[in-house]
């Protein structure tokens, strides 16, 4: 390492970095964007392949043929559901018992912190019903889970019907090595959360539930089945789970392999696969699919019932039947065969799925981008922050200079920013009653609007208060603050990207350019506008619009704003109900960090 120990060359390197700092940063930023967009280009991606030996070579034969039975069970289930006005517990218990399962129920109740207007629920009370198919001569150490939701209205009846038909068929087979749990969960994710917490005897979200009576050891994998319509044309695979966690890629490979084998139309992000990667449309298609995955992962919520399993180290995916492509009608028996094949292969597993990737992006079902390929895109953005630490006039000795600014100068804005963050995190939910009393709004609106208000108020607060406390800011002062803020942001984004690449990348793309160039000497009005437009809240707003654009349901500005508000309420709810970390991350860390830069802009 002569480069570092030789003072001359070190000096030359420093000089180069200092002199060409801005151009290098700009090149890095552009390179990051180009790299990221290049990830969707097919020649740059890898073809998916099955890594797990136990699932690869042992092809299984699918013999499930009771599609008619599944449909009649679905009808029966529908009738009983209507009669019971919710989960038909008794009928379901009997139906499962008649199929030779050990049946148990779990009741749960949950009071939401504020009413969920999207799903129209506040006090949630429900029952999960599950039946365990005991594998012969297995010691109850391993299990697989198949779930279907009991949802209001007409949807997902077929999923329950198919679940029961599969249970009946599976019960007559002798090759099971793992117990199979058939679970019908009420109130989608809340029921699933209650069941998982009950199964693992944890309580992380304040759910009230009755303890589970029957267990089957450690769950190895789970499949969640949703059939939203009676006519199914294609199957969509949903992988994004809570906090952007993804199941092992082999689970996606397994699904894809069986879709290929059975000739089933399969999609990811609702998008079919195209073979014309060399055309502009082909590339755009792949890029859109990947962008959708990035946005879904970044928002950190569970996009299907499977998402909550991932916390417990259980590989899980949702399979959603979609009626979207005409002329491709698929019968229920085929879906049953697909599930049978997948479950049989999972049954063959000797170890948990661990051979393939856990960190990946999918531009299509047959192509994937592994962590090694996408991380450089983020690395290029992160390096900008580190380069800016060494920008002209901000040398490393500022901190140790005794004549430099006092600790108070720097600490005050940091503390105030974070207190604002804490207020943003705590107040919306806790002040809802007061807000409802004083303003003509519903609880949900109260929460969201309080959040927006605190967010906006935060813009005025920090720089004014800190001036009151420590008097005039010095030139050195803002430099030290900026140094701190840059390092802080770099660490924050770095840690976020390691856990949830998409979130880290989306935040970095918007936060890095403005934070890297922020000084108090810039034109105030223009810079302030730029900063606000690139603040975390606006990032969410842009994501909403882009997402709507990508799923081909563009919205007007007004609708977009309403969606934005509902996204915020959903984020807060996800945090309270399932422990999603995006809202606390944004409120407690990212937003205060951004406020610190805001503070620099108004430094005087």
């Amino acid at each position: 390492m002569g480069l570092l120990s030789d003072p001359n060359r070190r000096k030359a390197l420093t000089n180069l970095l200092t002199r060409l700092n801005a151009p290098i940063c700009m090149v890095c930023y552009l390179a990051a964007i180009v790299w990221f967009m290049g990830l969707a280009f097919e020649p740059f991606t890898l073809r998916t392949y099955m890594s797990e030996n136990a699932m690869g070579s042992t092809m299984v034969e699918e013999r499930f043929s009771s599609g008619e039975r599944a449909l009649s069970l679905a009808k029966e289930f529908d009738a009983h559901k209507r009669k019971a006005g919710g989960m038909p517990v008794e009928w379901l218990v009997k139906a499962m018992q008649a199929r030779g399962l050990e049946v148990f129920t779990q009741s749960f109740s949950r009071k939401l912190p504020f009413p969920d207007e999207n799903k129209e629920r506040y006090m949630v009370r429900g029952t999960n019903v599950y039946g365990i198919l005991r594998a012969p001569r297995a010691p109850r150490t391993e299990a697989l889970v198949i779930t279907a939701p009991c949802s209001p209205g007409n949807s997902d009846n077929q999923a329950v019907g198919l679940l029961l038909a599969l249970a009946q068929y599976f019960r007559n087979q002798i090759f099971w090595a793992k117990d199979i749990i058939f679970l019908v969960n009420e109130h989608d994710l809340i029921g699933m959360q209650a069941w998982l917490e009950g199964y693992h005897h944890t309580n992380i979200t304040g759910m009230e539930y009755s303890p589970l009576q029957g267990r089957a050891g450690s769950i190895q994998a789970a499949l969640s089945l949703e059939l939203s319509s009676d006519v199914i044309t294609s199957l969509d695979l949903i992988l994004e789970g809570l906090n952007g966690q993804l199941p092992n890629l082999d689970l996606a490979n397994l699904f894809y392999a069986f879709c290929q084998k059975l000739g089933v139309l399969c999609t990811i992000q609702g998008k079919l696969q195209r073979n014309d990667w060399d055309t502009a449309e082909g590339y755009t298609h792949a890029a859109q699919t990947m962008m959708l995955m990035v946005l879904k992962q970044a928002c950190g919520r569970s996009w299907g019932d499977h998402g909550l399993f991932l916390r417990y180290h259980i590989e899980a995916a949702s399979i959603r039947g979609i009626n979207g492509f005409r002329h491709y009608k698929m019968d229920v028996a085929t879906i049953g065969r697909l599930l049978e094949g997948m479950v049989r292969k999972l049954n063959n597993l000797l170890e948990r799925l661990h051979q393939s990737y856990f960190f990946y992006l999918l531009p299509s079902l047959s192509r994937f981008v592994s962590i090694g390929y996408y991380m450089p895109a983020f690395g290029l953005l992160a390096v900008i922050l580190l380069l800016r630490v060494s920008f002209p006039g901000l040398d490393h000795f500022t901190f140790f200079n005794p004549s430099g600014p006092g600790v108070l100068t720097v600490l005050t804005p940091v503390v105030i920013s974070h207190l604002t963050g804490v207020a943003l995190y705590l107040l919306p939910v806790h002040l809802q009653e007061m807000a409802v009393e004083h303003f003509p709004v519903s609880e949900t609106e109260a929460v969201v609007l309080t959040a927006v208000a605190i967010y906006t108020a935060g813009l005025a607060l920090p720089h004014n208060t800190q001036r009151l406390l420590s008097g005039e800011g010095t030139e050195q002062g803002w430099k030290v603050l900026k140094l701190t803020a840059l390092l802080y942001l770099a660490v924050l984004l770095g840690c976020t990207a390691l856990i949830n690449f998409s979130l880290g990348f989306v935040l970095a793309v918007t936060l890095v350019p403005i934070t890297a160039s922020m000084t108090p000497h810039m034109p105030k009005a223009l810079s302030a506008l730029a900063m606000v437009l690139l603040s975390p809240a606006f990032t969410i707003l842009y994501c909403v619009f882009i997402y709507q654009e990508l799923i081909e349901a563009p919205v007007s500005v007004g609708e977009g704003w309403m969606l934005f508000l509902s996204v915020i309420s959903q984020g807060i709810l996800d945090h309270a109900l399932y422990g999603s970390l995006v809202y606390p991350l944004l409120a407690l860390f990212i937003y205060p960090c951004w406020l610190m830069f805001w503070n620099i802009l108004f430094w005087s």
Binding site: M1, L4, S5, P7, N8, G100, E102, R134, P136, R137, A138, P139, R140, T141, E142, R171, N172, Q173, I174, H200, H201, T202, R215, G217, S218, R311, Y312, H313, L350, E351, R352, H354, Q355
Partner: protein, 566 residues
């Protein structure tokens, strides 16, 4: 009912008088006797439980120093030699594939945990118990074709109270007891064949012709065991005899095999029929539980496990019996909930900590009774014993006796024994937290992502009987009802095993050693090397190097001898 009496088994503890009847087959040296028995019980879940017991009694003493036993007739020589070589006082070994579903099937006649279980009482003359144990497991491993050689000190415990000797003698010093389980052991044909070879008739005649592996392993539960213990020779118990019991329990799933029809026959279950008794057997019987189907004749009533059952008895030693064992249709009715039931699971998530929950149910409506809970946990789950809680009916339940032996890393497992009073009709939950240890990389199994097994915990109890029991052993007693000696009339002994646990430990990505080595080397070389360099080197202010023109000028000046330019 003459048939029932004639069919009745000879009383177990009065076999000597019975043996004199056909004494022409006995010699003075080989006073041994063989009995075989099959019990078939339809279970309330619709399954069929078949339990074989083969009992060899031999009036000899393997442990006598002077008299070496060398003439074997019915008792297998391989086991006899093992007994005398290792001074074994009592030996119990079981191989089980599957888990006994107490809630569906009730209590088994002889319980066993999934995998292999071995417990041995050594004679108190043995000085090096651990050495004997190690050798014994290796020998048994050979005899039964099983991986018993994996039993070592890291999975062996010495329970202080849970495993008392079942035979003669009142040994209480648990230094001579060794107990180990291998929950991962897979039981298959290769274990069945050596087990069958121990029978006097092999698989050629008698009940053992039914033991065909293709059917036995096409079942919901399979368990085979060998129990050797000293028993009384007669009622007065003046001298000792050795008893070898070979048991095989199997549960057939009628649901999958019978296409929904609840109908069974020997042929359907075993794909064989019985043709004769084992010629060496003094008694050979088939008992069919007809409690739920009382119109069948040939009855014998027996109280087993606190429940009075009615059995139809078929004595195979009587030739006229053949031609009777045809298909028997059965009506099924709900069974009593098992009075004692236990289950266990791991709570929590993540790979750092966890919590073992053991739930014990007392389903007796009004009687409380104490149970002994024994837990043997491998050292790599580091138990936090201060977090041990026992709660019944949401109230703290203080165990009256706790024996805890902490683990030693890589040497000894945890052993936890507790005497807990179970309130009537209650659920008692025992929880203890643990931390998952980080193993050395050579200590992982070849399939580390499968997880690591923790053996079943054992709940032993004297359960109050719902039915008054007759403990007069002179009466007719089938083999299956007389394994555990019962002293009290009002209760019976039950041992319940919970399911084993599969626990994931933090596992490195073994496919990446190359990457890790490369990365580590790079980090060490770049990071540490340069830092070390910077820290240890002394820095001096460098003369600024002169421009090329000046250096050329200096060169000329040096030649000329003129003072140099700075």
């Amino acid at each position: 009912s003459r048939g029932a009496e004639g069919a009745a088994a000879p009383p177990v503890f009065t076999w000597l008088s019975d043996g004199t009847k056909d004494s022409e087959s006995f010699t003075a040296a080989a006073r041994d006797q063989f009995q075989e028995e099959l019990v078939i019980r339809p279970l309330h879940s619709g399954d069929i439980y078949a339990s074989f017991q083969f009992r060899t009694l031999w009036d000899t003493d393997f442990l006598q120093e002077r008299q070496k036993v060398s003439h074997y007739r019915l008792f297998p020589k391989s086991l006899g030699q093992v007994l005398s070589k290792f001074s074994v006082r009592e030996l119990h070994i079981s191989f089980t594939q599957g888990f006994w579903r107490t809630m569906q099937w009730g209590q088994p006649f002889i319980p066993s945990p999934p995998g292999a279980e071995l417990w041995v009482w050594f004679h108190d003359t043995v000085s090096d118990v651990d050495g004997n144990w190690k050798e014994l497991t290796n020998v048994l491993s050979g005899i039964f074709c099983a991986s018993l050689n994996f039993i070592d000190l890291t999975n062996t415990v010495q329970p202080s109270a849970s495993f008392k000797p079942l035979g003669l003698g009142n040994a209480t010093d648990h230094r001579f007891l060794r107990y180990a389980t291998l929950p991962r052991e897979i039981v298959c044909t290769e274990n069945l064949t050596p087990w069958k070879k121990l029978l006097p008739c092999g698989s050629k005649a008698g009940l053992s012709v039914l033991l065909k592996s293709e059917k036995l392993f096409h079942s919901s539960f399979h368990s085979q065991a060998v129990h050797i213990r000293p028993v009384c020779q007669d009622e007065q118990c003046t001298s000792k005899a050795w008893e070898l019991r070979q048991t095989l329990n199997v549960v057939f799933d009628l649901y999958t095999s019978g296409q929904g029809k609840k109908e069974w026959s020997l042929f359907k279950m075993f794909s064989r029929t019985l043709t004769e008794a084992c010629p060496l057997a003094t008694s050979s019987k088939v008992y069919v539980d007809i409690t739920d189907n009382p119109e069948v004749k040939l009855k014998q009533q027996t109280v087993v496990l606190g429940d009075r059952r009615t059995y139809s008895v078929f004595d195979l030693t009587r030739a006229e019996m053949f031609g009777q064992l045809r298909s028997l249709n059965l009506l099924l009715r709900d069974m009593l909930r098992p009075l004692l039931h236990a289950e266990r699971y791991v709570a929590g998530f993540g790979l750092q900590t966890g919590e073992i929950h053991t739930v014990i149910y007392n389903n007796h409506p009004y009687r409380a009774f104490p149970v002994l809970l024994m837990d043997s946990v491998p050292w790599y789950l580091q138990l936090y014993i201060h977090t041990l809680t026992v709660t019944s009916k949401s109230r703290d339940n203080k165990p009256s006796y706790i024996h805890y032996q902490p683990a030693k890393d890589r040497h000894r497992p945890h052993l936890l024994e507790m005497l807990i009073q179970l309130p009537p009709h209650s659920m008692t939950e025992v929880t203890v937290q643990f931390e998952r240890a980080l193993l050395k990389w050579t200590e992982y199994t070849p399939d580390p992502n499968h997880g690591f097994y923790v053996g079943s915990s054992v709940v032993s109890a004297l359960v109050p009987s719902m039915v008054a029991m007759n403990t007069n052993f002179t009466q007719d007693q089938p083999l299956f009802s007389s394994f555990v000696p019962v002293k009290e009339e009002s209760s019976y002994f039950v041992r319940v095993y919970t399911e084993p646990l599969l626990v994931n430990l933090p596992t490195p990505d073994f496919s990446m050693p190359y990457n890790v080595i490369c990365l580590t080397c790079t980090v060490v070389a770049v990071g540490y090397g340069s830092f070390y360099n910077l820290l240890t080197r002394t820095f001096q202010v460098d003369e600024p190097s002169l421009p090329l023109a000046k250096r050329l000028a200096n060169l000329i000046r040096r030649i000329r001898g003129v003072p140099l330019l700075a």
